[in-house]
Symmetry: C3
Subunit: 151 residues, 3 copies
C-alpha cells in the first residue's frame, strides 16, 4: 500500500503546517496594516467608506503613498507566499530529507518576515531585494526537487 505523507505523524508535514499557517497569518496582517493606514491618512478607496471619517467632503483616493506601500507589500506576499505553500504541498509527498525540508520552510518564512520589515520601515536597497530573492530561491529549490521526483 501507499505511504501516507499528509499526516501529523509525519514530522516534515507537521513542520510544514506550522510554517504554512505562520506565513499566511503574517500575510493577513497586511490587511489590518492597510486599514490602519487608511484611517491614519483618511485615504479611503470607496465613497461609502469616506463617511466613516470625521472630515467633511472627503473624496476617495487610491494614490496615498503610505497606503499603497502596504498594498504593494501585500500583493508581493500573495505573489510569493501562495506559490511557496502550493509548491510545499507538492513537495511533501516527494518525501524530502526532514532537515533539508525544515530549513527550506524556516528560511522562507524568515525571508518574508524580513522582507516586510525592509518594505515598511523602509530599509535602503538592496535589503528588500535580498530578502525577496532568498524567498524566491527557496521556493524554486523545492519546485526543482518536485520536478526531479515526478519525472
Amino acid at each position: 500500500m501507499s505511504t501516507v505523507y499528509y499526516t501529523l505523524s509525519n514530522e516534515i508535514f507537521r513542520n510544514f503546517l506550522f510554517y504554512a499557517v505562520a506565513s499566511l497569518l503574517k500575510m493577513m496582517i497586511m490587511s489590518l496594516l492597510t486599514a490602519r493606514q487608511r484611517f491614519r491618512k483618511n485615504a479611503f478607496a470607496n465613497p461609502e467608506d469616506v463617511v466613516t471619517s470625521k472630515i467633511k467632503n472627503l473624496v476617495p483616493t487610491t494614490t496615498d503613498p503610505d497606503v499603497e506601500r502596504v498594498r504593494r507589500n501585500h500583493l508581493n506576499d500573495i505573489e510569493n507566499i501562495i506559490p511557496f505553500l502550493l509548491i510545499g504541498f507538492c513537495y511533501i509527498p516527494c518525501n524530502p530529507d526532514p532537515n533539508i525540508a525544515l530549513w527550506h520552510f524556516r528560511l522562507f518564512f524568515l525571508s518574508r518576515v524580513l522582507h516586510t520589515f525592509a518594505y515598511q520601515i523602509p530599509l535602503a536597497q538592496p535589503s528588500r531585494a535580498i530578502t525577496f530573492f532568498i524567498g524566491l530561491i527557496t521556493t524554486v529549490s523545492m519546485a526543482i526537487q518536485v520536478l526531479i521526483r515526478v519525472y
Copy 2:
C-alpha cells in the same frame, strides 16, 4: 498505520471540498463582472482591447470607478479566500470536530457572498467591514486550531 483524512469517506473533507470549490467559483465570477463593466463603460486597460469597442479613438483607462470597484472586490477575495482554503487544507488532518468544522466553512462562505453584495450594491458601512471581519475571524480560528495541534 496513519489515518487518511484527505478522502471522500471523511465527511469533514467532503464538506470542505464543497465550500472550497463554491468559494473559488464565487471568486472567479469577479473576472466576468470586471469584463462586463469594461464593456459597459468602454473602459479597457490595454490598447489592443480598445479596438473591440465601436467608439473611435478610445483611449485605454485603468481608473474607471465601476471597473476598479469590481477589481478591488476581486483582490479582496484573493487576499481572504485563498488563505482560508490553504489553512483549510492544513486544518483537515488536524481532525477537528465535524460540526465545528462545517460551521467554519459555512460561515466563511456566507460572509464572502455577503461581502460581495455589500461591495457591489454598495451597502452603507459597516456592512462590508462586518462581513470582512467574520471571514477573517473564521480563518484565524482555524489557523489557531492548527497551530495548537501541531505544537
Copy 3:
C-alpha cells in the same frame, strides 16, 4: 480502509504535481519580467528603489505602461492559476479518469503559456480572450466534477 490518492504512485497525482509546479514557475517568472521592465524604463514604485538608477532626481512611478502590462498579466495569473491548482487538489481525491484529468492539466497549462505570449507580444484580440477562456473553462469543468462527486 481508504484509498490514498495523494501519492506519487497515483499517475494522476504525479501528472498534477508536474503541471502545478510548471504553472507556478511560469507565474513566478512574471516577477522577474516586472523587475526587468522597471530597470529598462527606470520606472520604480518606491523612493528607496529609485537610487538604484543612475538617473539623478528620478521620481517613483506606478503608471509606466510597459511595467503595468506585466503586472496586469501577473495579477491575471494569480486570479486564474491559483484557483486552478486549489480546485486541482480537490479534484485528485475524486478519482477522475486519468486521461481526462491529464488533458485538463495540459490544456490549462498550455492556455496560460499562450495567454502570456498574447499579453506580452501583444497579439491582436481576441487571442488573449480565447486563451483566458480556455483556462477558465478547464478550471470550471474540474470544479463541476468535484461538486458532482461530493454531492
